[in-house]
């Protein structure tokens, strides 16, 4: 069992990070913290993906000269993760702009405080 | 008469009133008189067209025609047999009389521009129920009629009416959903819901029992069966009187008609009897009869008393359906006819009295018979028929039902009929006797009673008198078309002339 875990430590770390990120996102009431945690969560998934595509001893998938037989790393997960990162950044940016606007209305970025303000009205 | 002609007439009968509805709506903007005449004409033409189907039915032919399929095996179709015809004729006849009555009655009420189109539309959908060729079409028209007649119930728009209407609406929707469930199960078990295939479900499995109970809830709701009757005594009294007459006289019968179809077409007598479902129906019927009559005794509002009486009377219909032999079916059918005549007459008369005097409490109506002799006369005849005094039609229906009960060796049912007649007498006579014999002067509070009123207008009287005459001549007289039709129906249903 332990050997299995040691063998797959990239996967384990990725899952661990995912759980940390999700936990932080759902338990912290600070909105900016939520956004950072969301990023951690996404990055963890990307790590998992890239680790899946990794081949031990493989070279980076850059073709320099035609038709030489080198063991390449699977380039597909990597290139897909590019898209993933861009998507994550755009969600972050959008969430942040929402936070700034929410701050302008409530004077706070803490969800509990916002709820308190709303309940008092 | 060819089949094509008959189909055309059936379609005409259903859709002519529905098509007339928008015309009536636009006409009411121009002239009220035009609208009223159009409404009257519509109901009259519909009635006459229904009558033209008579020779066709007497010949014993059946029409089953599918127009198109909504879903596979689920079609919109029509059917004409003697059972449909009896109810169609009855409904259009009562509607015609109520339309005449409405002419004067509604002249002083508000919202005529809403009342007449709805009245006529309800006629179309009601006839659609009776002429439907499968359970789905029946369900469609049933829902249509139930929902549209809501507008009739809340016509007065008083707080009380809205409350009663809401109850009616919720119960209607519950009933509709139960019906829907029943139809789905029937479809699942039998692969069709057409009325033209005879027995759809052949054995009383658990699912079939569920279907039967759902049908019982759905149609029993409309028919005012015991635990589901709660909407009826609220909804019928608050409606305008002609609408009450229709609600009690005709629309209750749609539930009974549905149960007829369920028992004879979805299931069969064998299924009913081997699975002992007839006993469920019988018990409910007995409770309905006794409860309706007993509660009617306690009511002081005349229309509420009539409404509770309707609950009791619908119990007879259910009783006949649970006995399921020839005399009982004949009696049930005939009771549907006679109750329609009697109860419509009673409601119309009560409406006329309330319209003239503004009094609804029975204790205030002493001496009214002298001021409005014709109205009260009609009321008395219908009430006596209700009790079951011999030459009138109520006697005949009870008699036949009793014979049926005896044939089935169910003496207890005969006893129930007798008790119920007694109760009927107990709550109708206290209206009639003081109306004619109490000396006008003061009521029991010591206030002077002044009914300085004329009798009802000729048009109102006409419809009441026609109904009262119907109760007399369709009693023991030799020419009794409704009774013939009832016998034909029971013959048709029991001798397996279904296909």
């Amino acid at each position: 069992m332990l050997i299995k875990i040691a063998h797959n430590y990239y996967y384990m770390v990725a899952i661990l990070l995912f759980i940390i990120g999700m936990h932080t996102m759902l338990t912290h009431s600070n909105l900016i913290k939520k956004v950072i945690a969301m990023n951690i969560m996404d990055t963890a998934v990307f790590l998992l993906f890239v680790a899946v595509g990794y081949t031990y001893g493989g070279a980076a998938p850059i073709v320099t000269a035609p038709a030489n037989e080198v063991l390449y790393v699977n380039p597909l997960p990597g290139s897909l993760m590019l898209t993933g990162i861009v998507v994550a950044v755009s969600i972050t940016a959008y969430a942040l702009s929402l936070i700034v606007k929410i701050y302008r209305f409530y004077g706070t970025v803490d969800y509990d405080e916002i709820c308190l303000i709303r309940s008092q009205e | 008469m060819g089949e094509a002609t008959a189909i055309t007439i059936i379609l005409f009968v259903i859709f002519f009133p529905i098509v007339m509805t928008p015309i009536l709506m636009s006409a009411s903007g121009r002239s009220e008189k035009l609208r009223n005449i159009l409404a009257l004409l519509t109901s009259a033409i519909t009635f006459i067209m229904v009558l033209t189907l008579y020779p066709f039915v007497v010949r014993g032919d059946i029409i089953q025609h599918t127009f198109f399929e909504i879903l596979p095996n689920l079609e919109i179709s029509i059917r004409l047999d003697v059972l449909s015809f009896s109810l169609t004729a009855l409904a259009s006849f009562i509607w015609f009389l109520c339309a005449i009555y409405s002419l004067d009655y509604m002249a002083e009420e508000h919202g005529g521009s809403r009342y007449y189109p709805v009245l006529i539309f309800t006629l179309g959908s009601c006839l659609g129920i009776f002429l439907a060729g499968d359970f789905f079409t029946l369900f469609v028209f049933f829902e249509l009629m139930s929902l549209i007649s809501y507008i009739l119930v809340v016509h007065e728009e008083t707080e009380e009416a809205l409350k009663a209407g809401y109850k009616y609406l919720v119960m209607t929707i519950i009933g509709g959903l139960a019906l829907f469930f029943g139809i789905i199960i029937t479809f699942e078990l039998g692969g069709t819901v057409s009325l033209g295939v005879g027995t759809i479900i052949n054995e009383g499995s658990l699912l079939a029992l569920l279907a039967f109970i759902c049908f019982l809830i759905g149609f029993g709701m409309k028919a005012g069966m015991f635990p589901l009757h709660v909407w009826l005594p609220d909804a019928h009294p608050v409606a305008p009187s002609p609408a009450s007459a229709l609600l009690s006289g005709v629309m209750l019968k749609t539930g009974a008609y549905g149960l007829f179809r369920v028992i004879f077409n979805a299931f069969s007598i064998e299924v009913m009897q081997t699975s002992n479902w007839d006993i469920i129906l019988g018990v409910l019927a007995v409770i309905t009869i006794l409860l309706g009559s007993a509660v009617a005794l306690t009511q002081n509002d005349i229309k509420r008393r009539l409404a509770y009486s309707s609950v009791g009377q619908m119990g007879y219909v259910l009783l006949g359906l649970s006995i399921l032999n020839e005399n009982a079916i004949t009696g049930t059918m005939f009771h549907i006819f006679s109750h329609a005549f009697m109860k419509s007459c009673l409601f119309l008369a009560a409406g006329a009295i309330i319209w003239k005097t503004g009094k609804r409490a029975i204790s205030d109506l002493g001496g009214i018979g002298r001021e409005m002799p014709f109205t009260m006369g009609c009321f008395s005849i219908a009430a006596l028929a209700m009790i079951g005094i011999p030459p009138l039609n109520g006697f005949l229906s009870k008699w036949t039902l009793g014979l049926g009960a005896l044939d089935a060796n169910a003496t207890i049912y005969v006893l129930v009929l007798l008790i119920s007649s007694l109760l009927n007498a107990l709550y109708y006579l206290p209206i009639i006797v003081p109306a004619f014999f109490e000396i006008v002067g003061e009521d029991h509070h010591g206030h002077a009673l002044q009914f300085d009123v004329q009798d009802a207008t000729p048009k109102m009287l006409a419809s009441m008198v026609i109904l009262a005459i119907c109760t007399i001549i369709f009693g023991l007289s030799p020419i009794n078309i409704p009774f013939d039709l009832s016998q034909m129906t029971s013959d048709f249903l029991l001798r397996g002339g279904l296909f």
Binding site: I20, H28, V50, G78 | -
Partner: protein, 84 residues
């Protein structure tokens, strides 16, 4: 052989660092510090990807995931408040 073992150890340390950073981000109450820790998280992640032979992902992560995200976070914090 020795380099292989060393690389493995380095990778292990980097991953450990990632986890520590992630937990630290959750715990630190000063938002600006949290953002800086998050930036370092992103950079370490970029290195990990480089180790996994995915240079282009590493590059994008360094530029977008770390650079731009951090910029935006700082901008947002400067517009709102700093402590949690």
């Amino acid at each position: 052989m020795m380099t292989g073992v060393l690389t493995e150890i380095l990778n292990g340390l980097l991953l450990l660092f990632l986890v520590v950073c992630a937990i630290a981000v959750a715990q630190i109450r000063d938002m600006l510090s949290a953002v800086i820790v998050f930036a370092s998280f992103g950079l370490i992640m970029a290195i990990v990807w480089q180790q996994l032979s995915s240079p282009d992902v590493a590059m994008v992560e360094a530029a977008l995931g770390t650079g731009v995200t951090t910029l935006l976070l700082i901008a947002a914090i400067s517009k709102t408040r700093r402590t949690e």
